[in-house]
């Protein structure tokens, strides 16, 4: 049995026509509006007259997309690998595994080098964040986060702090102290707050600002000291999985890639999306700027990596082979940009000649899916992190998305799927 509620009718001047009439209390975009019934009818009709239905928007979108492709195609007069034909091919590629850093009890999700070229911070599924000395393989610091699936970690430019986050929807900064007995967790500072998991984070050129990307479809720039949101970047229509800052000489931009198959280039100051590329056929897992800052590479679940030229505003190379059918989870360039290292879900790392578009080597050695690949700042080595195949991270995330859209809100940390070890 439900009680009958009576709508109280207010009487007064209409916001639109200013006549004294009975007003209808309606809300438009959470703002209360007091219009008389006649004005409400007129407003509804106007909306229809503008014809802004989903269909018309879609049609307009399609025509613009075609026009964009035509404009881009006009400048596509030559292929990168054609111009690169006269370059010498690379010699036999030999890489040795020099160190294996064991210590994570579970899947390694993210890795970052310190600018001193020797320290590495890594984060894993069980919530541990460890700082290693790569020369000696010693663990220098270890922190246990209060959440699992720490998908993002980053070293501060000064080397004095690390940032990490994941399913807790936050990015936290831990200052690293030289005192081994000090409890790092006590000094933790929560900087970023998103409404969904944190997929990637990166310090800008100083320790003072952090850029984050999240499963809620946005990227954001935060001030570390105050935790204040400085700028937010809207434009992706699905989870953002990866971001990368432009090399400092080329200015204040960054690129992000997400589950909407798009790679977007943003201006950090204005929050504007300046360029957008949608040629991948599946989620973009990783984006990385070319060392010169004029291009960037992406790795995607469609088993290809692609190179996009920012000045020509188009994709200029695809790195793929019929034999490669597993998604690329992570990409990074060598110091000169001649080599592209890509980690795949089939446990291998493929090394591509960026200019010629050919594969120069396959690196084996992981018994697990390769989750992250990072070249050291001086280019002398690269490290790769991986995880067991008992669990497909993608499936879990899709599971969350499904439940979200179906309206069943299940708190992220308590989701039944996550209890599987």
């Amino acid at each position: 049995m439900c009680d009958q509620t009576f709508l109280a009718i207010t009487f007064g001047p209409c916001d639109n026509c200013s006549q004294n009439k009975p007003l209808m209390n309606i809300y438009l975009k959470n703002e209360p509006i007091n219009y008389c019934s006649l004005c409400v009818e007129l407003m509804a009709c106007q909306g229809l007259a503008k014809g802004e239905t989903i269909h018309t928007l879609k049609a307009e979108s399609e025509t613009l997309k075609t026009k964009l492709e035509e404009e881009r195609a006009k400048l596509h007069d030559v292929e990168l690998h054609q111009v690169a034909e006269k370059i010498e091919a690379l010699g036999q590629f030999v890489m040795k595994t020099r160190r294996t850093l064991k210590g994570h009890g579970n899947k390694v999700l993210c890795v970052d080098w310190c600018r001193d070229k020797r320290r590495i911070v890594s984060s894993s599924q069980d919530g541990k964040v460890i700082v290693w000395d790569a020369y000696t393989t010693n663990k220098e610091h270890a922190v246990t986060m209060p959440c699992t699936w720490v998908m993002a970690c980053a070293y501060a430019p000064s080397g004095c702090a690390v940032a990490c986050g994941g399913l807790d929807n936050k990015c936290s900064v831990y200052p690293l102290s030289l005192d081994k007995n000090e409890n790092l967790a006590a000094k933790k500072k929560s900087v970023a707050m998103h409404t969904n998991y944190l997929s990637s984070c990166s310090f800008t050129n100083s320790d003072m600002q952090i850029l984050t990307s999240s499963g809620d479809g946005t990227c954001a720039l935060w001030d570390v000291e105050s935790g204040q949101l400085l700028q937010s970047f809207h434009g992706h229509s699905a989870d953002v999985l990866s971001l990368n800052l432009a090399p400092s000489e080329t200015g204040n931009t960054f690129v992000s890639g997400g589950c909407d198959k798009k790679a977007n280039v943003w201006d950090m100051r204005s929050g504007q999306n300046v360029q957008s590329f949608e040629t991948h056929e599946s989620d973009i897992n990783s984006v990385k700027y070319y060392p010169s800052g004029d291009a960037f590479a992406t790795g995607s679940d469609d088993a290809t990596c692609r190179l996009y030229d920012l000045r020509a505003d188009r994709e200029v190379a695809i790195y793929s082979k019929e034999s490669i059918i597993f998604g690329a989870s992570s990409v990074d360039f060598s110091l000169s940009g001649r080599l592209l290292f890509a980690g795949y879900n089939d446990y291998t790392i493929n090394v591509w000649d960026v200019l010629k578009g050919t594969r120069v080597a396959i690196l084996f050695g992981h018994e697990n899916r390769v989750s992250t690949v990072r070249v050291s700042p001086d280019g002398t080595a690269f490290c790769s992190g991986s995880w067991d195949n008992t669990f497909d991270l993608r499936n879990i995330l899709y599971g969350f998305a499904l439940y979200w859209h179906q309206g069943l809100y299940i708190g992220v940390l308590h989701h039944p799927v996550m209890s599987v070890p």
């Binding site: 989903i54 928007l57 879609k58 307009e60 979108s61 613009l64 997309k65 026009k67 964009l68 881009r72 400048l75 007069d77 030559v78 292929e79 990168l80 111009v83 690169a84 690379l90 890489m95 020099r98 160190r99 790569a134 020369y135 409404t195 969904n196 809620d216 479809g217 946005t218 809207h234 434009g235 992706h236 229509s237 699905a238 989870d239 999306n273 300046v274 360029q275 957008s276 070319y290 010169s292 004029d294 030229d309 000045r311 020509a312 505003d313 188009r314 200029v316 060598s334 110091l335 000169s336 940009g337 001649r338 080599l339 960026v354 200019l355 001086d378 280019g379 002398t380 080595a381 979200w404």
Partner: protein, 69 residues
């Protein structure tokens, strides 16, 4: 946030973005490709992963044992 937006709002956002992008200044690939190549060639000489690192300067080399005579 993308998840909280209705389909119509997402489409509108994409449409505005496309309108901006159609007018972006672009350069021909025939200009930009050689520049990328020149950049790479210039830096390849110092790229340790391409030209290799001499064993004595390699910080990751396994340290040998000592022999006490």
């Amino acid at each position: 946030m993308a998840r909280d937006m209705s389909d119509k709002e997402i489409l509108k956002m994409e449409l505005d973005q496309l309108k901006l992008e159609v007018n972006t200044p672009r350069t021909a690939v025939s200009t930009t490709a050689p520049e990328i190549i020149a950049f790479v060639e210039g830096k390849s000489a110092e790229d340790p992963l391409i030209k290799g690192v001499p064993e004595d300067k390699n910080p990751f080399k396994e340290k040998g044992g000592c022999i006490i005579t």
